[in-house]
Amino acid sequence: MMDYACNIDYRAIGLKAGLEIHQQLASRTKLFCCCPNEIRKAEDSDFEFFRYLRARESEMGEVDRAAAEQAMTRKKFIYKAYDTTCLIEDDEEPPMPLNPEALDIALKASVLFNMRPADGLPAHLLRRLQWLYRNALGESGHGHAVPGGRRRL
């Protein structure tokens, strides 16, 4: 495997590699609600509830194959709620507008990384249907803040 990998001329095949960094922003409240931005321990949970998620069409009218397969297994998803979560995280209330403090932090970071902010922020959010276990909506909101840019560290 190693030898095989070493014999490839990556430049010739046009390989591109990227790094995806997930960083929680130190905003006072969460991205789509006014709950404090704290990571909690499971034992602090004071309430739990369960849902069965179903495969749905995405924004583009497509269904994720993995989601469709998962839905057939009829998995029961148990969610833990805390005194730092609210109806929005439980998917019992529509999300609030994007947290301006979080946007401000993202834009400041983008300036530090020598990036160029996209126009039209913060209006264009992506609804990403997902089969992750981390929130009750079965989907998450993502914003693409800035393209390009580089910074020598």
Partner: protein
């Protein structure tokens, strides 16, 4: 949309050059005037038209993977149920071409997205309207009542009505009075949009179908009983009220227990209150309504000229949502006397929502009764309004109107207030 003088269609794959950066993606609907692209990485980006150069790549391609349509096989051993669609969240999806949430599901679409329904019954579908429930009116209730009557007459053993949740309680009350049904007539909707994986639409619809083939006849509302996907409650059509703007548990029975609960996992029905059994009543349609009735909520300091306004507009009935036991400012009494003398029927309900009106305790109440106001007992104000429309559609006789308003016709009045 037109970008810098050239026409592009939503769904077109385009390349946008802006400030030396190239963006490639599918053109999405835009409300801001910006060019909105869905890029290959899934993110959306908004770009100002100014300073952007757009290059067309190709037309929209159909989605690469969709759920296969469910094959609807009729099973001889299953009962016949009609699904009447009126629109609403249970049958809506986000239309990304226009960016709007639209109600565009037919009963077949509902079965495609909730195939479990076909294990419960064979369905016959009819799309009656495709509206948001706030756009309902008495004329549409009549059309709906006529359709319910027709489907039962043609052999439907149960009816499911998909309905937006905002005014579901009004339609449930209207059908309760207009249609005397020997079979279940179940209204169902969803609080959380049906295009998301966590929507409550599937569980509500499956529980509704379970009730539609049960022996709980008459009009009911079947919706989530808890925040978990655990069970639904079956609420009497004249005793149910939307009590939360967005939560799954919004629908609650007021002044009585729900009729039953339906377990989502086992589909077992547990009866919690009295109900009219399948076949106990004969099918009848009494669909006349007097839409010129008003519902007025009293607040401290509210002038009584609202009554003169409705009287001047030719209104035949008014339900007042009074304070506490059923009161309004004493200065309203002359206006109320005048309205009743002019032929308007006035019914008192309470903005407390829970409990019974009693105008025989305080002097204001006694004055209201002496003026001819009818006590709405433990009726919900919205139900009293719909009932008043219906009663005035059945008779013009003042004594008969009073008698009917104070008679329990469809479970709307309980003469006992259980603890």
């Amino acid at each position: 949309m037109i970008i810098n003088g050239t026409e592009y269609e939503e769904g077109d794959r385009v390349r946008v050059l802006r400030d030396g950066v190239t963006y490639e993606g599918i053109l999405m609907p835009s409300r801001s005037g910006n060019i909105v692209l869905k890029m290959k990485n899934g993110y959306n980006v908004g770009l100002s038209q100014e300073g952007s150069t757009v290059e067309f790549i190709e037309k929209e391609k159909p989605p690469s993977f969709r759920l296969a349509p469910h094959v609807h096989i009729q099973r001889a051993d299953l009962p016949k149920v009609s699904i009447l669609s009126t629109g609403g969240t249970i049958a809506s999806r986000v239309d990304y071409r226009t960016g709007a949430v639209s109600s565009q599901f037919t009963p077949d679409d509902i079965m495609d997205s909730i195939p479990e329904l076909t294990e419960i019954a064979n369905y016959n579908g009819e799309v009656l309207s495709m509206i948001f429930s706030e756009d309902m009116d008495a004329a549409i209730w009549q059309k709906l009542a006529q359709a319910v009557y027709r489907h039962i007459n043609e052999g439907a053993q149960g009816i499911i009505i998909t309905h937006g949740t905002d005014t579901m309680q009004y339609t449930a009350a209207a059908l309760s009075f207009m249609v005397q049904s020997p079979v279940p007539v179940v209204l169902v909707g969803s609080q959380r949009s049906s295009d998301r994986p966590s929507s409550d639409n599937a569980m509500n619809a499956i529980c509704a179908a379970t009730v539609a083939v049960s022996d709980i006849s008459g009009v009911s509302v079947v919706m989530h009983g808890a925040t978990s996907d655990d069970f639904c409650y079956v609420h009497r059509g004249t005793k149910v009220r939307k009590m939360h703007t967005s939560a799954r548990t919004a629908f609650q029975s007021v002044n009585e227990a729900p009729i039953a609960r339906v377990d989502y996992g086992t589909r077992a029905i547990t009866v919690l209150d009295d109900y009219v059994k399948r076949g106990e009543k004969d099918l009848a349609l009494r669909d006349k309504m007097e839409p010129k009735c008003a519902l007025v909520k009293f607040y401290p300091g509210m002038p009584s000229d609202i009554i003169d306004y409705y009287l001047g507009k030719g209104y035949k009935g008014m339900v007042i949502e009074g304070t506490g036991l059923g009161h309004v400012n004493r200065q309203w009494i002359p206006a109320i006397q005048k309205a009743i003398a002019s032929g308007m029927t006035m019914v008192m309900t309470s903005q407390c929502i829970n409990g019974r009106v009693c105008d025989r305790v305080y002097s204001t109440g006694i004055d209201l009764i002496n003026a001819g106001v009818i006590e709405g007992q433990d009726m919900l104000a919205e139900v009293a309004l719909v009932k008043l429309m219906w009663v005035l559609g059945q008779t013009q006789d003042k004594d008969e109107v009073r008698r009917m308003m104070q008679t329990d016709i469809a479970g709307e009045i309980n003469w006992r207030s259980p603890v």
